[in-house]
């Protein structure tokens, strides 16, 4: 007794044992048969599904498009550039398919960077070809924002999930934007104008900011 001196050598001997003991206690307290709530399970499935379709690893945002739809948009088919189009929406249990038809002559919408982004956001990634442009933004706290503009092509389709918690229509200069909000605060917005479709995916964004982004784009 009275002989223990807390030195580096003593700590190098004892701390690995402490490390092991802590891990074993954690493992002992793990309930391997825990059943998560249905809500938690569905949110995790939604997150996993979305992460399969992220555009950018840096962004790590919620992007509901299929890669097949994006690949179709990447085809440079001059003859299919149009101004107006019709959208057919097919809704399933956990997803919605938007398909585009009757696409007319080349329109007036050009590709261009959004004219408005919320204060504090800076562009961190940008990619574009003649059919799709994607802009990824981040604010100082790492909150992400993804904006994409896609030219509508005949027969093109995109897929959205339908596991949102709230849906609303926002009137922007006479055209309705679809706003989908999720329990975790994230939001997905969809807008059609001219010969393009516009989408916003954000970890958090107000209706006012969504309106201004679409309006000034």
């Amino acid at each position: 007794m009275g002989e223990i001196q807390v030195t580096d050598e003593w700590l190098y001997q004892y701390m690995p044992i402490v490390d092991e003991a802590i891990l074993r206690e954690l493992e002992k307290n793990t309930d391997r048969h825990y059943i998560f709530s249905h809500r938690f399970e569905s949110r995790m499935k939604r997150l996993i599904r979305r992460r399969r379709h992220t555009f950018s690893r840096r962004a790590a945002l919620l992007v509901p498009f299929t890669m097949g739809g994006i690949a179709a948009a990447a085809l440079s088919v001059q003859a299919y550039r149009v101004q107006f189009f019709e959208t057919c929406r097919r809704i399933w249990e956990d997803s919605a398919l938007y398909s585009y038809f009757n696409v007319d002559a080349p329109g007036v919408e050009g590709f261009g960077k959004p004219g408005y982004v919320p204060a504090g956001f800076r562009l961190v990634s940008e990619s574009a070809n003649e059919n799709i442009a994607i802009y990824i933004y981040e604010d100082g706290k790492g909150v992400g924002l993804s904006l994409s503009q896609q030219l509508v092509l005949e027969g093109k389709s995109i897929v959205f999930d339908t596991e949102y918690d709230q849906c609303e229509l926002l009137d922007i200069d006479g055209i309705h934007a679809e706003i989908y909000r999720y329990d975790d605060g994230s939001v997905c917005a969809y807008y059609e104008r001219g010969d393009c479709i516009y989408t916003i995916n954000a970890e958090e964004l107000s209706d006012e900011d969504i309106k201004e982004i679409f309006r000034q784009w």
Partner: protein, 88 residues
């Protein structure tokens, strides 16, 4: 030479709580396990994972001086707790 004994029966209901040969050893182990988290984490990183102070500072998003300070204060805490144990 003191011998450490690990009783490895994961998944069983009766996993023993003791990890050392003597009661004193186990009491010392409990002192280390129950250090305040901000000291314990640094001690684990330094003395179990064998990280350098600058690595610990970067990992924990603190200054290197803070790492050294917490190590010094942690040692005092442990020494005082062992002293109380020995006097009890």
């Amino acid at each position: 030479m003191r011998k450490e004994i690990y009783i490895d029966e994961l998944g069983g209901e009766n996993v023993p709580l003791t990890y050392m040969e003597t009661d004193l050893d186990n009491a010392v182990l409990d002192i280390l396990k129950n250090l305040p988290v901000k000291y314990r984490d640094i001690f684990l990183l330094k003395y179990s994972s064998r990280m350098e102070n600058d690595e610990i500072a970067r990992l924990c998003h603190i200054q290197e001086g803070t790492v050294r300070q917490r190590i010094a204060r942690g040692k005092v805490l442990i020494q005082n707790a062992i002293k109380n144990l020995e006097e009890a």
